[in-house]
Amino acid sequence: MADTILVVVEQREGKLNRVSWETIVAGQALARETGWNLEAAVAGNNVSGLASEVAAKAVTKVYAIESPKLATYTPDAFAAALKQFIASSQPKLVLMPHTYQVRDFIPKLATAMGRTVITDCIGFKKEKEILLFTRQMFQGKFAADVTFAGDPPWFVTFQNGAFRADKIESGAAAAPIENVNIEIADAVVRNRPEEAFKEAKQAVDLTQASVIVAVGRGIKEQKNIELAKQLAEALGGEIAASRPICDSGWLPMDRQVGSSGQTVAPQLYLALGISGAIQHLVGMKGARTIIAVNKDSEAPIFEIADYAVVGNLFDIVPPLIEEIKKVKPAS
């Protein structure tokens, strides 16, 4: 029997998240590289619909791992179910997305099987028949190539965005789906989770924001702040500002980013009309992606921006809000 790569996808409320598709892409790439079979599994209660969605992609088989105990996520039930399944199906490599849910149970699963997991990988390579998994270390200052030293199954999780979901290959025909019913004893599940909920917005802690829209002097007047707020809202982010704006009282001081304000490192920092004084830059240069809109093509902010728009923010922002609304349903 050929070796197998198993991708365990993640669903929430009957929907697969994007990073699950990305992980299938990673699996497809690994299958090409190794010549191993690629199989997928989705765990839950009544997941055959999702299984058939996955079966449309280029995988050799999809397992629907079913148990009423998997209806609500608990680490105990998920680890128990997957342990039973993996122990019997014996894949060589088990891939999962590095989500909050997966990181909650995969170390437990691997430990229970006497194995380890290489978490949060951003890529892989094969050298001399050995698979190396690349992951960031020291907060991204270095990348590490990590190998497995023990016996399979080897567990790997991939970081959000490591592979591109739109590169997924569809299968020539739908892959076969196998239902696997797992028995989980009552005593196994110890945690009793409640419904997930969203919290009303609390006092701002910009350091925790994943998206920040920041305004600088280029916003010109206090009333224009509203436009930036609309953009922040459309992106589900927080509004912030450079010092002159807070000094003028247009936004409260706790919205200030920079050496005398907060130091932030969001996924996205969108700077509107900020020239990029060093005091500001030190507070935000750790952002993963920086987009800057400024009239002055020589503005220092462009030095550290990933994407630069030289132009009037009042021209750019309104259509941008419209475009965002098109692709992102109101939350």
Partner: protein, 597 residues
Amino acid sequence: MATVSATPKSKISGGSFLLENRSASDVFTPEDFTEQHQLIAQTAEDFAANEIVPNIEKMEHKDFSISRDLLKKAGELGLSSAEIPEVYGGMELDKVTASIIADHIAKYAGFATTWGGHTGIGTLPIVYFGSEEQKKKYLPRLASGEIVGAYALSEASSGSDALNCRARAELSADGKYYVLNGEKMWITNAGFADLFTVFAKIGGEKFTAFLVEKTFPGFSIGAEEHKMGIRGSSTCPLILNDCQAPVENVLGEIGKGHVIAFNILNVGRFKLGAMCVGGARVSLENAVQYAKQRKAFGKVIADFGLVREKIASMAALIFVGESLVYRTVGMMDDALSQIDKHAPGADKETRKAIEEYAVECSIIKVWGSEMIDYVVDETVQIYGGYGFVEEYPAERAYRDARINRIFEGTNEINRLIIAGFLLKRAASGQLPLMPAIKKLMDEVMSGASTEDFEGPLSEERKLVSSAKNLTLFAAGVASQKYMQSIQDQQEVMGAIADMVIEVYAMESATLRAQKIAEQSASSAMLPIAMTRVYLSQAMEKMESAARKVVAAAADGDTLRAQSAILRRLAKHDPINTIQLRQEISQKVIERGKYALN
């Protein structure tokens, strides 16, 4: 305590560095910080970064409710009572700790002044001169920051010559209180302090200190001064208009106010040095960060040699400053650790132990305040036009630093203290300066060869030894010429003080670098480079000061002969400081701030 070794060391006498060659193991350095020192440094650093720095703007605009809040927070953490005994609610920690805290609090000069005024001159008079009742009554609340202290010595027409004070005190008819009249000036923390150590002359004669609470009848505060710098601190005059201070609030002995007035600055001066180092470190960090961002001619200005040269010079100065400050407080702690703090007269012993190092403390003050002025000035220069506008931190730091050369005894007064103290000690035989000078003169005449040094930094240690000889030579020449009246030759005294200062700085840096090198050659590269850069520039100053003294003291053939000796003593091979500064700036720029690793 901060002793480096477990065995008590023989106490080093103040000023003896000039005559004796020290070894690396004799000096305390930041590398010798204990785990406890490091933890306290961390708390002080976090407090400064998280509590002080975010409030700079408010304090600059004189929102002193913030300053009081911060003093309260600092008090609760124990940051304000390192020098207060445990029995009075203090932390009773060593002077290294006190310096570490000052060093970190100095991130923002405005609050550092407030804090320094409170914990130093606002509190220490009671620590060292208070009665048991006074200590019990005031120290716990000063320690916790519940009340804020201040010190009122200067007047409109008396500053360094404080004994000329005009404020008067008269005993009331019922003998229960003194009635104070007069006006005090430049009172740090006056705007919001609760307790003032006020100096006045009883009956116009007996110079005496009083503990005056702001609620005492007849006490009022004048308007805030509009200052060049440290605007985040309060400075007001204090008006005593038939102010009533109970007799039990006389501090120390009647008529002995001068003992307090002179000593209190001595016992606190070392922390000013630490603050200058801390402030300079922040300034350098700002300069480096700016230089790494600012572009000119298509590259960042941190790539330009003339900018890098400045950065390296600043870093080297901070290294020397740390070496000076912590060496000095380490010596103090060694001396203080030999005092039984609970024995009667312990206050006096403690004071005496600190005063032993009055020369070293004055050196720290003078050297540190001139160092930070250089650093903030070059920071402005690196910022260019942006250094000249208020929106950037360089401008404020430039203004803030200037006061350090003025307060806590002007640098001129301190130079006279340095030279005068040594000559006084020499005259009284406490310091064998004259025999040393004679021995040197004999050696010079006989052409004896100089001492040899081995091991790491042997060249540098040899240079330090030359610097000492040069200083002794100049002091000897001046003593021969002026005899007792040398005290009146302020310019000569100043030049000798300059040389003494440089000797101490050169030696402190050299011994620290040597100590690091003995631990690990790889981590010593930067310290050694910094030491060599500093020694090179210090030797130039030494030579020029020596030449000035010799030229004033002699003429004709004598002058020519003495100049020849001077040249021989100062002889050293030039080193490639351009290369060294390149190496230093490379590291500092890479690190984005002053750091040795």
